[in-house]
Symmetry: C2
Subunit: 281 residues, 2 copies
């Protein structure tokens, strides 16, 4: 009898712990997800209104207006960015009010994230929050979304507050020198392989240039929740605030696997640290 009681108590503790820390997976909110349909596949982007509210609002509004449908990826540089939008100089783009940059945001001492690395090459600290990779500077009391591969950010001219509707998705080694001076507002959570297959528009000197008529179009850019449920891509994403995710990071740093016959330095490049995604059927 005493034994049974103990089991009940232990089980209850485990349940409370799980409730307190949430689930290991969270469901992608379709109100906060973009479906980018390419001629060769579908791409899902999770938006980050908690970090870049005005850019997300802008992108959602434009997507819901069908603004991007048929636009092309006109600046696609391998290992750098896949940029698209209406043709340069179009009246459509000129009619849009430029946005104030949201390159970083203020934090207080209570702001927390799941720490990945201290003294990263570009940031004093890196870590995950809500599945997004961020940098943090406690002296400046600032945090910012990082330019890891697969993030979506708004393009601009030389002045900071000039973003309108043109956007890019990073497609290669993280161009971290753009951190804080561009507004990242989401990231690809499904179909990065299709982003990688978008036709490069920049070729090396001496190679045959790509005809603009062959540039890859965005067939449709839609807010996921605007689609009938059966046409939505429903995803679950690893909850980076769950204790199991912190454990996964610690395991990854240690590399306690027989394959590592000699251990690499116990550091983590956050842009090379995956956050799991799975499909709900």
């Amino acid at each position: 009898m005493m034994k049974k009681f103990t089991v009940v108590i232990i089980t209850l503790i485990a349940v409370f712990k799980a409730i307190a820390s949430g689930n290991e997976w969270r469901t992608l909110d379709p109100e906060n997800a973009i479906l980018l349909t390419l001629p060769h596949g579908k791409v899902v982007i999770e938006l980050a209104p908690q970090f870049s509210p005005n850019h997300v609002k802008r992108f959602k509004t434009l997507a819901q207006q069908g603004y991007y449908d048929g636009n092309k990826f006109y600046r696609v540089i391998d290992g750098f960015v896949t940029q698209g939008g209406p043709e340069d100089g179009s009246t459509k783009d000129k009619a849009i009010t430029p946005l104030k940059i949201e390159g970083d945001f203020s934090i207080d001492k209570d702001w927390s994230f799941t720490l990945v690395q201290d003294h990263d090459l570009f940031a004093p600290q890196t870590g995950f929050k809500d599945g997004f990779a961020l940098g943090r500077d406690n002296n400046e009391q600032k945090a910012w979304l990082l330019h890891c591969p697969g993030v979506i950010a708004m393009a601009r001219t030389n002045a900071p507050d000039t973003a309108t509707s043109h956007f890019y998705i990073t497609n290669g080694q993280a161009p971290r020198y753009l951190d804080r001076i561009m507004t990242v507002f989401g990231r690809v959570v499904y179909g990065m392989n299709h982003v990688q297959a978008i036709t490069r528009t920049s070729v090396i000197e001496g190679d045959t240039p790509v005809d603009p008529k062959d540039f890859t179009p965005m067939v449709k850019v839609q807010l996921m929740s605007d689609l009938p449920k059966e046409q939505q891509i429903q995803l679950e994403i690893k909850n980076t605030e769950h204790p199991n995710y912190a454990k996964k990071l610690s395991d990854r740093r240690k590399r306690d696997n027989a394959f590592f016959y000699k251990k690499p330095p116990p550091v983590l490049d956050i842009c090379q640290t995956p956050v799991g995604v799975r499909m709900i059927k």
Copy 2:
């Protein structure tokens, strides 16, 4: 007369300097280049016999035997590696003598490279030599090729000296934790966009798996010099030992361009630092 003489001297000094440091561009040696023909495009790989002699010798021999022709890329993980070779367990692969790992090599105090960054997250120093990205540890007196995007390396099992013929090309954010424990032996210098378009074989949980019959084949893997000259892809690559390249690095670190209204940290991620390539027509 005196003036004319000075001009001649200055001109001569400039000429001598240019000769001493070589040209800004060097020609890719076709004896040292691999042409990988994919169904959707051509890829050129520059081999690195100066750093990984035995792996290069092996790869050249196999290519010249036509060993890889028709092999498939059977392990293609987006943001990580594009791996191929004969089907696992094939007799062909088993007949090959495993290679001793060439993960790093000894250097003496006179060994030099074009320094890119001190205190990189993974290495005490990074720099370029012959267009290749390397790490260096002066205390250990070792240097090694880095796992930047687009490098080719031989796969192995858990033990270090087990590489035979299966190879991978890195396709995403540099998996630097593999530095020194795998043998990198070359890098893609043309057609990385085609590598990026190779069909991913690993899909997320819940997604429709790719049928192995749809895996991307290597149509042909050939030594460039074995092809008739008119079928060769002839390239020139920036000479990373030329003073102009060091200047380019310094400019890139400074970001003295109006676009950088706020300066990023004055650091360089070597894997995000391009080495120019152009085609000779």
